[in-house]
Subunit: 193 residues, 2 copies
């Protein structure tokens, strides 16, 4: 019980009482490949820490085309943040699909907010995570605006090492905002360099 908290909270030292308080709020979730953690239209109450496996968040546009917003691997937190943190939505606008068998730890936003109020170390951990995520998202917008598809693909490989065995080509292409044909072309060009 101690070890998963140390993993989740990056070795922050908690007292025994704090450890118990936090562990009581966490629920272990196992997901098979292909299962959905969340589907568009469902109510969103929880965030999930990924202990093992891989998940993909995507939107489906009105023509049925999928747009991959995020891949999430060990050490990440996943939810539909537009619903969870936004002011106007409470229903998920995205799908979160398990693409490699996963073990997650779930906590409701309500409980997480309480922990932040009760245990300042949790609040400061959360601030650090949010600041990092906000910077990463702004960086991604910047990269989409200013980098070539090849450069974005290289950044993707660096950010998600070894993920290519797990995800389908059209997932990667839709994450990069390109066609699968462009992705194949980029890979071929890289192979011949």
């Amino acid at each position: 019980m101690q070890s998963i908290l140390l993993e989740i909270f990056k070795d922050i030292p908690f007292t025994e009482a704090e450890t118990k308080r936090m562990f009581d709020k966490l629920e272990k979730v196992s997901l098979k490949k292909g299962a959905f953690l969340l589907q568009a239209g469902e109510s969103v109450h929880d965030i999930h820490y990924i202990h093992q496996g891989c998940l993909r968040t995507y939107f489906e546009d009105s023509s049925g085309k999928e747009h991959t917003l995020q891949f999430a691997i060990k050490g990440w937190w996943i939810s539909d943040y537009i619903a969870l943190y936004g002011k106007t939505e409470t229903k998920s606008v995205s799908y979160i699909e398990c693409i490699k068998e996963a073990t997650l730890y779930k906590i409701s936003k309500k409980d997480f907010d309480s922990l932040c109020k009760e245990i300042p170390k949790v609040a400061h951990f959360h601030i650090g995570k949010l600041e990092g995520a906000f910077a990463a998202f702004q960086r991604r917008i910047l990269e989409n605006l200013t980098l070539s598809a090849t450069e974005r693909y290289l950044n993707f490989i660096a950010a998600y090492p070894n993920i290519e065995q797990t995800v389908k080509n059209y997932h990667i292409a839709s994450y990069l905002g390109i066609t699968t044909e462009s992705l194949s072309r980029i890979r071929k060009e890289m192979a011949t360099v």
Copy 2:
């Protein structure tokens, strides 16, 4: 002194000692139209609350083309968040330009972090702001992927009422990721409906 803190922190009640502590860390900054709050390559240490006026954050790509990331108006906080909150950069990757004469209140990240540790109300306020900003950015990525340029323009007008008198057409077009010609066409179409 009390009134600007009430404006910045949305009426959170602070004690007299907290008010003094916080006000000591804030510095008033006045900016003329056309002045830069920050330029690419400069070190980033501060965040700025906008009391009056309007600013624009943009990136310049290698061909010199500007990409508008954000407009910031009264009530917003502005900085180069990739440098301020990211783990790899410390220099600004963007320009922040004053596009309507502005009054800001500046605080260093170091001082803000200290306030979050000393005054839990500030930490929880910061968490709420970060969560809202994170949701808004994800929503913007989603909208860029799934909405038409006309729909994005309508959302822009709703998010920034009355901003069109202040900003240039190519600012709006680059925020929406379209050409100024497309923007003109959209406006014409809307005028004839």
